[in-house]
């Protein structure tokens, strides 16, 4: 579906991503895991096509060739503070040239956006903003969706709604790739993990393998190792 071939990315003199080769399969539930500064967000932005690799190639299969096949939900709340929820959805709908459809209605209902339909973004709670951010990023009904820490500042109820929606999408074949530091979310939403540190993809494994210590990391005292050990809490 999506293949990374020796992908590197440099910014100035820093190597943010160092020769990463890996594959994302259709319907994958993949999390990119690692400490801050590991290059997780950069790798995801590369895969989403927002930035271009300095070297190496990223190839997509035919299912991802359409204009709206890729969805990206950034870590920041990429929203207009003083527009309402309704205005946001109408705006992005117009941009992709779509009308209200069953997919959108289902998404709005599952994420319970109707209750806040005419509220401005700056009047919403952090959790609601995240829900709108998620909705806007998926309005084009993507085949693969990249989510960069989508659950930051989200309360448990909102997290439940969002996880419910993402799992439902995945069950229909949508590939989910996300970055998080939240083990609860990993358990709920991921099957596979890419473990990263210092721009290197150190390991690809299933969540079970990582949780049950079936992997060996080169540096056992590293930040990544400490983060992995947190799954027990």
């Amino acid at each position: 579906m999506l293949q990374l071939n020796s992908v590197s990315y440099q910014k100035g003199k820093s190597d943010l991503i160092q020769s990463v080769s890996a594959t994302v399969q259709p319907g994958d539930r993949l999390t990119i895991f690692g400490p801050n500064g590991a290059g997780k967000s950069t790798l995801m932005r590369l895969m989403a096509g927002i930035i271009q690799p300095s070297s190496g190639t990223i190839t997509y299969d035919d299912s991802l060739s359409g204009k709206n096949a890729i969805g990206y939900i950034p870590q920041q709340l990429a929203l207009f503070e003083n527009l309402t929820v309704k205005e946001h959805l109408r705006f992005y709908q117009k941009m992709i040239g779509s009308k209200t459809n069953p997919f959108m209605n289902e998404m709005i209902e599952t994420l319970q956006l109707k209750d806040f339909w005419n509220k401005r973004i700056d009047e919403l709670s952090g959790g609601m903003k995240r829900k709108v951010n998620l909705t806007v990023g998926m309005i084009q009904q993507p085949k693969i969706v990249f989510l960069d820490e989508p659950f930051v500042g989200v309360d448990l109820a909102a997290k439940h709604d969002m996880l419910n929606w993402l799992n439902r999408l995945n069950s229909r074949g949508v590939t989910i790739v996300f970055v998080t530091h939240d083990w609860q979310v990993i358990h709920e939403l991921a099957d596979k993990m890419w473990l990263m540190e210092n721009g290197d993809l150190l390991h690809e494994a299933t969540v079970d393998e990582v949780v049950h210590d079936h992997i060996e990391l080169p540096d056992t005292s590293s930040a990544l190792q400490k983060m992995i050990s947190f799954h027990r809490y």
Partner: protein, 327 residues
């Protein structure tokens, strides 16, 4: 894409900058500047208690820049101390009769203070107009004495022709074409001051709109728009909106303030928007961009004034957009 402008227009600050500030400028700052410019003229008061016809004639003859002559029928010396009058000229009650009879002693009393500097020029003009009449009256008296059939009024009217005086010396006069009319420069410098203030305001306004691009870039909105649209249409929408607002204000303000705009000056808002946009593309941090643009605006202000005063005249000055008015 109109939605991005809806988002901008929903902010109160936008309305303050686009509507309230121009209105305040029009009501408060513009009249103040115009007053300041008009204060360059010299206030002179003429007192004529008997409302003589000759007073009108004299004042009509010398009523021109830079004097602002007001006529009164009573003497009020406080005008000098308050600065409302640079000098006061009191005409004798029988001035007209005295002139026609050739008596010129103390027909005018001149009041001034140690702060009066340029009233001497008015005195010279007044004296010149008076002397012309005295000479003509003298001529009329001499002519009618030797030619009783001559009409005194007619000779007085054309007295200087009868005398046909030869000038004491003749000055060679050559007209140089292409030299600016200096009397017009006084008005233009006032207009140019208003113009550079207008440009500073427009520059600030564009800076305000550019701030949204920075915010949207930092929040990931631009990335999202680019991702969904795969084109730069939102930049185009932003540019069209900013051009629309700045040109509307520019054209309205120059019309209302009657600032003469040459053809190159119509490109000034365009150039200013473009330079901000280029800065946005090059400079990634908002405050760095502001530092550059404030420096550029201040430099443009200074260079514009220096160019306007002809202190600098060089091609490089056109790097500073407001100087395009002076092309």
């Amino acid at each position: 894409m109109f939605m991005i402008w809806k988002s901008i227009l929903k902010r109160k600050t936008t309305w303050v900058l686009v509507v309230i500030i121009p209105i305040l400028f029009g009501l408060v700052i513009y009249p103040t500047i115009k007053d300041t410019v008009s204060q360059v003229s010299v206030p002179i008061t003429v007192v004529d208690q008997t409302d003589q016809e000759i007073t009108d004639e004299l004042l009509n003859e010398i009523d021109e820049e830079p004097f602002q002559v007001s006529r009164m029928d009573t003497l009020d010396l406080r005008l000098l101390s308050t600065g409302e009058a640079e000098a006061i000229f009191v005409f004798n009650d029988n001035m007209e009769a005295n002139i026609l009879s050739g008596q010129t002693d103390e027909i005018i009393t001149w009041y001034r203070t140690e702060n009066s500097y340029v009233d001497g020029l008015f005195k010279e003009k007044l004296a010149s107009a008076l002397m012309s009449r005295v000479v003509r009256a003298e001529a009329a008296s001499v002519v009618t004495q030797y030619k009783p059939e001559a009409d005194w009024e007619e000779v007085y009217e054309y007295g200087l022709r009868y005398f046909e005086p030869r000038p004491i010396f003749e000055m060679k006069f050559e007209h140089i074409s292409g030299v600016e009319d200096r009397s017009a420069t006084v008005d233009e410098s006032g207009d140019h001051l208003l113009f550079i203030l207008l440009w500073l305001y427009i520059s600030m306004l564009i800076g305000y709109f550019t701030q949204f691009l920075y915010e949207w870039r930092a929040d990931g909105v631009l990335e999202r728009l680019q991702m969904v649209q795969r084109s730069g249409r939102f930049y185009l929408t932003w540019l069209i909106g900013v051009f629309g607002i700045t040109y509307s204000i520019f054209l309205m303000a120059t019309q209302l303030m009657e600032i003469p705009v040459v053809k190159w000056a119509y490109l000034i808002p365009f150039g200013t928007v473009l330079i901000y946009f280029i800065f946005f593309e090059i400079v990634k941090k908002k405050w760095t961009m502001y530092a550059w643009m404030i420096s550029y605006s201040v430099a443009s202000f200074v260079i514009f004034l220096l160019a306007d005063w002809k202190i600098i005249e060089s091609d490089w000055m056109y790097l500073f957009i407001p100087t395009w008015l002076l092309v």
